[in-house]
């Protein structure tokens, strides 16, 4: 595993691709070892907001010299990030977390679920898996950020809450409608969606790898802020509390209690 580092990187580009959704490419050596489903921590320049913001890696460029993050502005930190332009220096820590088990999807029928701001990490995942990949993306409305880009790597299915595009409802409604029978699921999105996916995978008796999130302080496994309940005692906590930042963020759904 590549060594974790905190370093200064440079913003290559930034674009506002949907309301409150920003798309930023960062030039950094961390791209070399980055894996789909991993994340980086980004630090603000404003010194009153101290903690790093964990943001999933959306894409790694072909030369592996840059990382792309697509994030939603939700507070002071992400608001600051959205003001960065090409050439802005940015403090980042990475690469963090385990990432999706790409090999588990090799030559299989793979369903990727992305919900809202959980969609970005599924793009690099779609890119890396060589199999029969179907991407089910769930949006609130017709602001379909990133959707077009999935078409290069997967068969695209859309679900919208307001029914403006694709299936009206959630990504599981869209899966049902498609009639696709996956061998394996990989997903990132809001907790209610992940709970439903966990249940669905249990019914289908197939593995589902889900990416979780929780408020973090350190991002490297020391502070024990971002734990999730696990079925088995993990090697670290011995109290059924895996660390999302280090033992995850991707867990097999049947191993976690969510």
């Amino acid at each position: 595993m590549a060594q974790k580092k905190k370093l200064t990187a440079k913003v290559i580009s930034q674009a506002n691709i949907a309301p409150d959704i920003y798309d930023m490419w960062i030039e950094t050596e961390l791209a070399l070892g980055a894996k789909a489903g991993q994340f980086i921590c980004i630090y603000t320049k404003e010194r009153s907001t101290l903690l790093p913001r964990p943001i999933s890696i959306c894409e790694v460029n072909a030369e592996r010299t840059a990382l792309r993050v697509v994030y939603r502005v939700v507070g002071a930190g992400t608001n600051e990030f959205s003001s960065y332009t090409a050439g802005t220096s940015v403090e980042i820590l990475g690469t963090l977390g385990n990432g999706f088990p790409i090999e588990a999807g090799q030559d299989k029928s793979v369903v990727l679920f992305g919900g809202g701001i959980g969609i970005p990490p599924m793009l690099q995942t779609a890119k890396e898996i060589e199999g029969d990949v179907h991407a089910f993306l769930g949006y609130r409305d017709n602001q379909l950020f990133l959707a077009e880009e999935f078409k290069q790597y997967a068969t695209l299915h859309i679900a919208t809450e307001d029914g403006s595009v694709g299936t009206k409802g959630n990504v599981l409604d869209a899966l049902k409608e498609s009639g696709i029978k996956p061998d394996v699921i990989m997903a990132c999105g809001p907790m209610p969606m992940l709970r439903a996916i966990k249940k669905c995978a249990e019914e289908l008796d197939i593995p589902a790898y889900i990416s979780l999130e929780e408020h973090m302080a350190c991002g490297v496994g020391a502070c024990l802020g971002c734990v999730c309940k696990t079925k088995e005692k993990d090697h670290h906590s011995h109290v059924h509390n895996a660390r999302i930042c280090t033992d995850g963020p991707v867990f097999e759904a049947k191993e976690v209690e969510i």
């Binding site: 408020h215 302080a217 350190c218």
Partner: protein, 300 residues
């Protein structure tokens, strides 16, 4: 140039330590910093049995700081002895084990088990604000602190540091009680109890409702308390509270701390500990200071 300091007969290569709970047992930050360069690693609190800790969210950011209510999650002393102490023994740094418990017996059980272990000092956590039983209950009343200190001293084979809570009316009373009961040193401050409410969700930002405030926001409070305690007791003090760099560390030392611990700022900059070690050396060079001990409590 001498950066060595001594606390209760234990010599530290420099005064920079890690604050309990922010650094695990060093494994995670060992990927970023050379643990050999630290004066000591102060480990995450360990109890007689595994503790699951509090529900999430356990952390929240605040202006210039953070709240946490981890709830002293720990794997229990047996796992700790088997795994964490051998890990730390690979390094040329001192080991200070932070001990927590729900009853006096709990604390004493852990202290006793550590008796024949190669650890240099014990730090007794009687000041965690985030667990319902034990911990802070012993740290907010002078007589309770006196009693638990006295009891622990009966079992302890290593020098005992009592970690004090700032959530008291007069911290010097607590310091004096610990000293009178035989504490070898004091560490202060633990976190300040705080609260944050998410106005958009209309919910507490952390599941425990209250949490411990740490980070640069609390530094002036911590420096003041270290100064007060240094003037009230004879035993050495390990100072902490929002230290981000060498200048902050020196503030605590000048106020009367013999050593300092880096806590929340590890999360902000994982290299803070070694940068502080380097920064103290540069400061000493810059001002021609031969021995760091001459700086301890130098501002009266």
């Amino acid at each position: 140039m001498n950066t060595k300091v001594t606390i209760a007969g234990v010599e530290f290569k420099n005064p920079v330590m890690t604050a309990s709970g922010t650094f695990g047992s060093g494994m995670e930050y060992g990927e970023f910093v050379d643990l050999n360069r630290l004066g000591a690693v102060v480990t995450k609190g360990v109890a007689n049995v595994p503790w699951p800790g509090n529900p999430t969210p356990r952390v929240a950011e605040t202006y210039g700081g953070m709240l946490n209510a981890i709830g002293l999650q720990n794997p229990g002393i047996d796992v700790f002895i088997e795994r964490d102490i051998p890990f730390l023994k690979q390094y040329d740094t001192k080991i200070i084990v932070n001990v927590c418990g729900k009853s006096v017996e709990d604390y004493c059980e852990v202290v006793e088990k550590l008796g024949d272990q190669p650890v240099d000092m014990l730090e007794i956590n009687v000041s965690c604000p985030n667990v319902k039983e034990g911990a802070i209950a012993f740290g907010q009343k002078a007589d309770a602190l006196f009693n638990i200190t006295k009891e622990i001293k009966k079992y302890a084979k290593q020098p005992v540091i009592m970690k004090l809570s700032p959530n008291v009316t007069d911290i010097t009373e607590m310091a004096k009680a610990a000293e009178a009961a035989g504490a070898d040193a004091l560490s202060l401050i633990n976190t300040i109890t705080g609260m944050k409410i998410d106005v958009h969700r209309r919910k507490f930002a952390i599941a425990n409702k209250t949490g411990g405030l740490s980070g640069p926001a609390i530094k002036p409070v911590a420096v003041r308390m270290v100064y007060q305690v240094a003037n009230a007791v004879q035993i050495p003090i390990i100072g902490m509270g929002g230290i981000a760099n060498a200048e902050d560390a020196l503030e605590f030392i000048l106020a009367g701390a013999t050593a300092v611990s880096i806590g929340a700022m590890n999360f902000v900059n994982p290299y803070t500990t070694v940068e502080t070690v380097d920064g103290i050396e540069s400061y000493m060079k810059r001002y021609g200071i031969e021995d760091i001990n001459t700086l301890i409590g130098a501002v009266k």
